[in-house]
C-alpha cells in the first residue's frame, strides 16, 4: 500500500501543483472531504484550485522538484524544492499528505526560503 500511496501522492501533487490541473488531480487521486492545513489555502478542491490559479498567475515560470518521497501507513511525505522565479534560490518545502483507500484527503506543509548564507556546505536538500 505504501508504494501505491507514494505513486498516487506524487501524481496528485504533480498534476495539481506543478501542472495546475487541480480538477484532474482530484478526479484521479483525491478524496472528499479534502482537509487543508496550509494557512494560505481554503479547504477542499475549490480552495486548492483558487490557490493554484493565483500562484500560476503571479508566478508563471515557477518550477518545483520533488527531492524525496517517504511513506508511513496512510501518510506520504514529500521534500520539495520550489523555485518561484527562475534563477532564485527558492524554497524548501515539506508536504505531508494523509490518504484514505489510496486517495489524498488531507494536507499539511511547511515552507522556508533558502537563505543566501549557510553554516554548512550541504545545502537544504
Amino acid at each position: 500500500m505504501s508504494e501505491t500511496n507514494k505513486a498516487n501522492t506524487v501524481a496528485f501533487h504533480t498534476k495539481a501543483v506543478f501542472e495546475g490541473d487541480v480538477a484532474t488531480a482530484f478526479r484521479l487521486y483525491g478524496g472528499t472531504p479534502y482537509r487543508q492545513h496550509n494557512p494560505l489555502i481554503g479547504d477542499g478542491e475549490e480552495g486548492l484550485r483558487k490557490f493554484v490559479a493565483a500562484m500560476r498567475a503571479s508566478r508563471p515560470d515557477a518550477h518545483g522538484e520533488i527531492k524525496r518521497v517517504f511513506a508511513d501507513g496512510d501518510y506520504v511525505i514529500l521534500h520539495v524544492h520550489n523555485v518561484p522565479t527562475p534563477g532564485s534560490r527558492g524554497n524548501a518545502i515539506v508536504d505531508i499528505f494523509r490518504l484514505e483507500n489510496g486517495k489524498v484527503v488531507e494536507h499539511w506543509d511547511v515552507r522556508q526560503e533558502i537563505p543566501e548564507q549557510s553554516a554548512n556546505s550541504n545545502t537544504m536538500f
Copy 2:
C-alpha cells in the same frame, strides 16, 4: 527497524533540542559523521551543541512538542510545534533524519512561522 528508528530519533531530538543535552543525545543515539542541512547549524555534534546553547540562552522558555512521527526505512520524519516564547503562536517545523544502524547521522528541516490569519480553520497541525 522503523519502530526502533522512531524511538531513537524521538529520544535524540528530545534530549538534544528540548532538554539541551546534545552530548548525551549523541552518546546514546547519534552517529559520526553527523551531516547537517539546517543552514543555521554547523556540521556534526559540535555544530548542534553550539546552536542549541545559543538558542537556549536567547529563548530560555522555549517549548517544543512533537505532533507526529513517521518512518520509512532509514528515515524518520517529525512534525513539530515549536514555541520560542510562551504565549506566541510559534513555528511549524518538519525535521527529517537519516539513520544508520539505528543511529541518527543526517538532518534536514523546514521551519515556518504560524501566521495570525488562516484561510481554513484546521490549524497548521
